[in-house]
């Protein structure tokens, strides 16, 4: 079994990588011109949020933080479906 302290060395670095990407995605959402662009960036941001939630749960060693992960991962597809129907029915 690997010591938990070895992972604690790397966890802030991983969280920093994903947080940087999330900041750039947020800037993309705020500056996008059309609706599909913004929805595409929201998709990528939600995927990042899933990963960040898993990393935080691993950092605090608490399974309760993982409750929202599966509904959020399912929500990404649902958001695309709803926006596509809105764009076509309009």
């Amino acid at each position: 079994m690997v010591e938990y302290g070895l992972l604690e060395l790397f966890l802030p670095f991983m969280a920093g990588l994903f947080t940087t990407a999330m900041i750039i995605y947020s800037a993309r959402i705020l500056t996008s011109k059309t609706l599909p662009d913004a929805v595409l960036a929201v998709d990528a941001l939600s995927v990042d949020l899933v990963v960040i939630l898993a990393i935080i749960a691993l950092y605090y060693r608490s399974p309760l933080l993982l409750i929202g992960v599966i509904p959020l991962a399912a929500w990404i597809f649902l958001l695309d479906l709803i926006i596509a129907r809105y764009l076509l029915k309009r």
């Binding site: 994903f18 990407a21 995927v47 990963v51 691993l58 060693r61 399974p63 076509l88």
Partner: protein, 123 residues
């Protein structure tokens, strides 16, 4: 020994995923067209979501933590990875189809054969 190998495989997958995620987020700004930005979105979803979740599941299996936390963490991460791998490409396709047919995003191309087939001018 096998635990250490699993740990480093998971660590590598997660860090490669983070780097791919930053590359995808830069691609969102660099690429010109909505239909080109779909490629960046796929890199951000599969490279930045699927790989790190698989890596985190493998890392959780190799740690010396409580067995309940280990099983819960790796199971949730694997299920979320499968949902992302199945849902995000399908969602991107649905969104591209809706954006094309509703005229919300115009492609930067010289000839449009799909519009010709639908009865418009292809130029």
């Amino acid at each position: 020994m096998i635990d250490l190998i699993l740990f480093y495989i998971g660590l590598g997958l997660t860090i490669i995923g983070g780097v791919l995620d930053i590359i995808a987020s830069i691609g969102f700004f660099r690429l010109k067209d909505f239909y080109m930005r779909l490629h960046a979105a796929t890199v951000g979803a599969i490279g930045g979501g699927f790989y790190p979740l698989i890596g985190l599941a493998i890392i959780a299996l190799s740690l010396d933590v409580d067995i309940y936390f280990k099983a819960y963490m790796s199971g949730v991460c694997l299920i979320a990875a499968v949902l992302i791998a199945l849902g995000t490409p399908a969602g991107s396709h649905i969104l591209a189809r809706a954006a094309y047919h509703s005229g919300e995003a115009k492609p930067i191309i010289t000839v449009d054969r799909l519009r010709e087939d639908k009865g418009g001018d292809g130029e």
